[in-house]
Amino acid sequence: METLIHLQDVTKTYGSTVALKGVSLDIPPGRIVGLVGPNGAGKTTLLRALTGSISYAGTISVLGLDPQSQRKALMAQTGVIHDVAVLPPWMRVRQVLTYMAGVHPLFNRRRCEDALSTTSIQMGKKVKQLSKGMKTQLHLALVLATESRLLILDEPTHGLDILFRKRFYTAVLEDYYDEEKSILISTHQVEEVEHILSDVIFIRDGEILLYSSMDDFRETFVQLTASVEQADQVRQLGPLTEHDLFGRKVFLLRDVDRSALEPLGELEAPSVADVFVALMGGEA
């Protein structure tokens, strides 16, 4: 199978801090992958390594290209939103578009202007005069107008209100995604994106804890709500977590035969957030 992103033993250190610890990963094309981890887990470092923005040790291939030695060719096919604050604050919106048109061979200025015309962003405004939400809208409009094969989003909606966050992901799905394209989203607000993900990656302390398709994820993890009397029976199956809910016990289990669980209570698919918290060592 063709590989969209390939990482082999990738390590990144900042002084004595190891941000990525020998990460190895293969992501096929045509997927929407959620990269989920707590603050300081290494999400941003991983994405910056994928885009050649930082140096690293190990091997990375994105769209068949080496991000460090072939960054220019890679960026012609990849749209990146690192963070809402990276657009040059001194530039006017019009100047940003002109700059993009000058340096990006696939940038479709008309498409970008059309997208911006549905917002309240004015062409003559400086980036620093825009609200956080507007900056994100602008950046998204720029990226979506480049016809890229891969979209990398690093906490794109961080600090924005829920209405805007919903609109953002709707726009990404409607205006960008098709089966020829791929999206890699880093976030710690996983509950907002899990419905659009086809794959999920959990990362902590620079290590990949889990990489799974959402189909496998739903097969692997199950949430069981059982009575107090049946709790001991469930505990023998080695649940990841256990907590009380309205006088009953809720368990999260991994790789357990569902036919054995059905007599013990009600089965449900757990949320990605619940599994994430469980694997991170907390309680759901």
Binding site: I54, M75, T78, V80, P88, M91
Partner: protein, 340 residues
């Protein structure tokens, strides 16, 4: 090429207001001083100011130059040597043998001072620009944006170096040429005729040669300033804070250390020599020379040959040092080092 132009436009957009203000101040000063000199010249020609110099020709149909309000000065009249012409102190100005010298002094020094001012002003601006060029984008995080686009790091950095050198010097050249042409246009015809008859070199300058020399001078300045420009860009790429301060303090400290260890000022002298191209090369050159050494019928070579300056060991060393710093900039830029 299209990308490179877009990169240069980006640099221009960021600094154009500063450029515009400097140029506007300069042009205003040029116009004001020209108007003042023009009026003074007209008054001189009209005989309101006595020439006070030896002349034996008849300018137009006026005999007013003989009407000296300061007759006692005429006895002490002396020729000013050509080499001294550019370095009059206030006391020397007051000892001018004649008002023609004063008028000519005004014209030549308006030009010389003007182009020197704009050249030095733009060099100082370039100092700020280059020290800030990479640091600023590292500080506001926009390096991540720029590097998320299909542009090579080499092109981005080369655009900054070109803008900080060719760009600033180009504007200096254009304003300098504008100044010369403006002075040519506004120089009173009668005064030119008078000065020619008096053996002043101003009337013998070939304007196209002058502009050509002025352009070559800027090329020389570019070559010799390249190491310092690349050094500033390097500091801008690696320092965690205050790039300009660090860029200036480090060579100073190295120079002091050099003096302590080697017992001479060679390190700082080399830097200042490169920085003071203007003073070194223009030193005692510009319009307005006169004296026994000048053949009234010959055109004047203002600057001499630049090939000796350009094709020199200093130029080779400059290019090597600049290349080394630029390589350092290239590798450090890719790391996008954090700022404090």
């Amino acid at each position: 090429m299209r990308q490179f132009v877009a990169l240069l436009i980006r640099e221009w957009q960021e600094w154009r207001m500063v450029m515009a203000v400097v140029a506007a101040i300069y042009v205003l000063g040029l116009v004001v001083s020209t108007v003042a000199l023009h009026r003074g010249s007209e008054a001189f020609l009209a005989g309101h100011i006595h020439a006070g110099i030896h002349h034996d020709h008849d300018l137009s149909d006026s005999d007013d130059f003989d009407d000296d309000p300061f007759p006692e000065e005429e006895d002490d009249a002396e020729w000013i040597s050509p080499k001294e012409m550019g370095f009059f102190s206030l006391g020397e100005i007051l000892r001018f043998s004649g008002r023609a010298d004063l008028i000519l002094f005004g014209w030549t020094h308006m030009l010389r001072g003007g182009v020197s001012f704009i050249n030095l002003s733009l060099l100082v601006l370039a100092l700020f620009y280059l020290a800030d060029a990479v640091f600023k984008e590292r500080a506001d995080g926009s390096t991540y944006f720029y590097r998320s686009l299909p542009v090579g790091d080499g092109a981005v950095l080369a655009a900054k170096l070109v803008a900080g050198t060719v760009g600033f010097l180009g504007i200096s050249f254009i304003l300098g040429v504008g100044s010369v042409l403006f002075a040519q246009l506004t120089f009173p015809g009668g005064l030119a005729e008078y000065l020619a008859a008096e053996g002043y070199a101003a009337s013998q300058v070939a304007i196209m040669d002058l502009l050509g020399d002025w352009m070559i001078f800027h090329v020389l300045q570019l070559l010799w300033l390249l190491p310092f420009a690349a050094y500033l860009l390097f500091v801008s790429t690696v320092t965690r804070s205050r790039p300009l301060l660090i860029a200036l303090v480090v060579p100073l400290l190295v120079g002091i250390l050099w003096r302590y260890l080697m017992g001479n000022n060679a390190f700082l002298s080399e830097i200042t020599t490169n920085l003071m191209v203007l003073g070194d090369v223009l030193g005692n050159e510009w319009l307005g020379h006169r004296g026994p050494g000048i053949d009234p019928g010959a055109s004047i070579e203002l600057f001499g040959s630049f090939t000796g300056y350009i094709f020199s060991l200093r130029t080779v060393v400059s290019l090597l040092v600049a290349g080394s710093f630029f390589a350092g900039v290239f590798f450090a830029y890719r790391k996008n080092l954090a700022v404090s």
